[in-house]
Structures are given as C-alpha cells and as structure tokens.
C-alpha cells in the first residue's frame, strides 16, 4: 500500500448562511479509522466532501497524501448497464486492485441492470468499485445505509482489512460500526 496521510487543520464548514462546525482538526496516519458521528444535517457528508477536496472549506485547510476513494449515496454506476459492465468501466479506468464482487456477494447480480438493484445491493456495488480502485484513503459516507446484518459485518471486515493493510478509513455514519482502533469524532461538539 502506498504512503498515506490525511490531515485537516482548523476546518469550518458553512451551508447557506449557517456555520455547521468549526475548529475541526485531525491527523490520520496509516492504519487509522475515524468514525464521524452526529445527528442528521450536522455536516457529516459536507465534511467528507471537504476532506475529498470536492467542496471548498469555509475556513481551514486539508492536506492528504495518497489516492482518495469515495463512496457516498450515489453509486457512479451507469443505471441502464448490467452491474458487471458498469463495474468494468471503472476497472478498465483504474487498471488496479482486486475484484471484490464475490466477497461482497454480487456474483449473481452481475448481469442485472444497476437500476434494478436495491439500495443495499447498490451500496455493495459501490464498495466493489472502491476496492478495485486500490487507493489507501477511503472516505465512506453512510456506507451501512440499506445493508442487512450480514452485509454490515462484511463491510466492517472489509474496512478492517483495509486499515490493517496500512490504509486509512473515514466513516461518516449515524449507525454504529465496529472496527478495531476506531476513533470517534462527534460533530455536535464542534457546532458553534
């Protein structure tokens, strides 16, 4: 796994004319897992997008080393294509990583068009895309939404293995997630 690091200094996030949180600093090294918790609308997803560099921070700075992978509520898989071909697009694009479709129990869904998949199946497909991307920095926005009990265990196992291999995982979720060496960050503490 390539060298990785994720640090944020004195972040603040504003939505409209409301400041969601401020003074957020964090530093994550290889193997770290961070669980961002907090009520709906407190800025978990916004924080994930700021850390990914997809949205500007209202104040503060983010530095990262290593490739970033993101799983959020949008699977980024063509809805009209069979799942296998939709995943193939990203596999050809990334040209790296392992095939996690079997591990995630997607083998018998590969010829089903993505739009027919359920929420949980879509989530697992997005995770398969993430694994195939082979990047050290995982940003997961509500990765457990719509997953059944066994799938939750599967995802916990997957993320734990990723961290054990020297990767970093940032999980924003209102649901509990069991990971070794998990650090929790409650955004409510940082609300102004």
């Amino acid at each position: 796994m390539q060298e990785c690091r994720l640090a944020a200094f004195d972040l603040a996030c504003r939505r409209g004319d409301r400041v969601l949180f401020r003074g957020l600093s964090l530093a994550l090294g290889a193997g770290a897992a961070l669980h961002i918790t907090g009520a709906n609308g407190i800025g978990k997803s916004s924080l994930i997008r700021i850390l990914a560099g997809l949205a500007p921070a209202y104040a503060g700075s983010v530095t990262s080393e290593g490739g970033i992978g993101l799983v959020d509520e949008r699977p980024a898989l063509d809805p009209h294509l069979p799942l296998g071909r939709a995943l193939d697009f990203w596999r050809a694009f990334d040209r790296a990583g392992t095939d996690a479709t079997e591990l995630l129990g997607l083998t018998n869904l590969l010829d089903v068009p993505v739009r027919y998949l359920s929420t949980g199946q879509r989530k697992r497909a997005a995770l398969a895309r993430l694994v195939a991307q082979a990047v050290p920095l995982w940003l997961l926005d509500e990765p457990l939404n719509g997953l059944d009990v066994s799938a939750v265990a599967l995802v916990e196992e997957l993320v734990a293995a990723h961290c054990a291999g020297g990767g970093i995982a940032v999980v924003a979720s209102h649901q509990p997630i069991a990971l070794p060496a998990l650090v929790a960050l409650d955004l409510a503490v940082l609300a102004p």
């Binding site: 990914a52 993101l70 959020d72 699977p75």
Partner: protein, 219 residues
C-alpha cells in the same frame, strides 16, 4: 491518460448514440427530417420558393435537433456522481468536457449531414445549394455541439434546466445560423469561413466555461 480519455469517449458515445433509456441519436434525426418534411406542406408546392428557402429551413431544423439531447449531456452524470469520481482520479473537468463535445458532435453532426441529403430532396435544393448546406453543416455543427455542452453544463441541476437550456441555446446560436444559412443567400465562401470561425471560438471556450460550471454545480 489517453487511454482513460478513450474509455470516456467510448462510454459517452454509447450513451449518446444508443441513449441508455433516454432515447438515442435517432430521435433528433427523425425530428430533423420531420421538420424538413413539414415545411413544403406548410408553404405549398412552389418549387422556386422552396429551393430558395430550403437551405435556411435545414439550418433551423439542425439547430432545433441539436437542442433535443441537451438534458442528457451533463446532468445525468452529475446526478450519478461520475464527475466526483473523475475528479478524485485527477481528471480535469475541462478534459471531460472536451471529450463530451467530441462525442456529442459525433452522435449528431455526421448523422445530420447524412439526413440533409433526403431533406434537400424533399425541399428541392439543387446540387450547388446542397454542397453549401453540407459544407456549412460540417463547419457549423461542431460549434452547435460545443454550445450544447456548455449550456447543458450551465443549466445542470437547475429546476427546469432542460427547457431553460433550449431557450439559452437559441440566441447564442444566432451567429452560426446567420453565417451558415447566410452563405446560401449570397453564395459566398466567406459565410462558410465565418461559420467555421464561430465554431472555433465556441470549441475553444466551452471546456473552460463548462468545466467551471460543473465544478460549481458540484459544490
């Protein structure tokens, strides 16, 4: 990098030509032919009048046909989160837009030029006028494609974006129409040269304008 852009071009083409579930490149083409077919019914069987105005009709029909796929150009990928994933992989929005302009042009420019042949027959254009129309379309449709992608990016995510997009394209396409169709009236090669120039300007600014719009819409 080239390999990745080719992959994107292939995906864009498959999406625009076959259309997924939103209707492919056939619909604008049929629309174009339908307009060319309706016009003689509306103005009557006056052959000289048809031949004189037919070139302009083909141009207007081409412009309207280019508007039809606007809502499929940027918005679906924005909703899917494709642009986020590309950004994380270090692909600039400008490159994505340039690829998309090429794909959009390939999906409607050459088919439209082919369809202009039967349309010219329906309108009774002679060989010389047909040559000017085809040359004008060759030079003008890349500009129309660029304009379409730019407006699609600017209106992506807005409520009623598709209708607004159509409204925005029409005035911005006036220079193309004036020079493209104008080359028929005066029989001038200068009109064709101006059409090409307008297309080049649109092709040059679109990646940057549309790229900035996409980054902003992503926020």
């Amino acid at each position: 990098m080239m390999g990745r852009l080719l992959l994107m071009l292939r995906r864009d083409l498959a999406l625009l030509l076959l259309g997924g579930r939103r209707g492919g490149a056939v619909l604008p083409l049929l629309f174009f032919l339908a307009v060319a077919m309706l016009f003689p019914f509306a103005v009557g069987p006056d052959a000289p009048l048809l031949a004189r105005t037919g070139g302009g009709v083909i141009w207007v029909a081409a412009l309207l046909a280019a508007i039809l796929p606007l809502d499929r150009l940027i918005e679906p990928d924005l909703e899917l989160g494709m642009f986020d994933q590309w950004a994380l992989r270090g692909i600039s929005e400008e490159a994505i837009v340039a690829v998309r302009v090429l794909a959009h042009w390939l999906s409607f420019g050459p088919p439209l030029m082919l369809a202009a042949l039967p349309a010219a027959g329906l309108l009774g254009l002679d060989g010389e006028r047909l040559r000017l129309v085809e040359l004008g379309l060759l030079l003008g449709t890349p500009g129309l494609a660029a304009l379409g992608v730019m407006v699609a990016a600017l209106t992506a995510g807005l409520r009623g974006g598709a209708a607004l997009g159509g409204l925005l394209v029409i005035p911005l396409a006036v220079p193309l129409l004036v020079f493209g169709a104008g080359s028929l009236a005066v029989g001038g090669e200068s009109g064709l040269a101006f059409t090409g120039a307008v297309s080049l300007v649109l092709l040059a600014i679109t990646p940057f304008a549309a790229g900035a719009a996409i980054r902003n819409a992503r926020g």
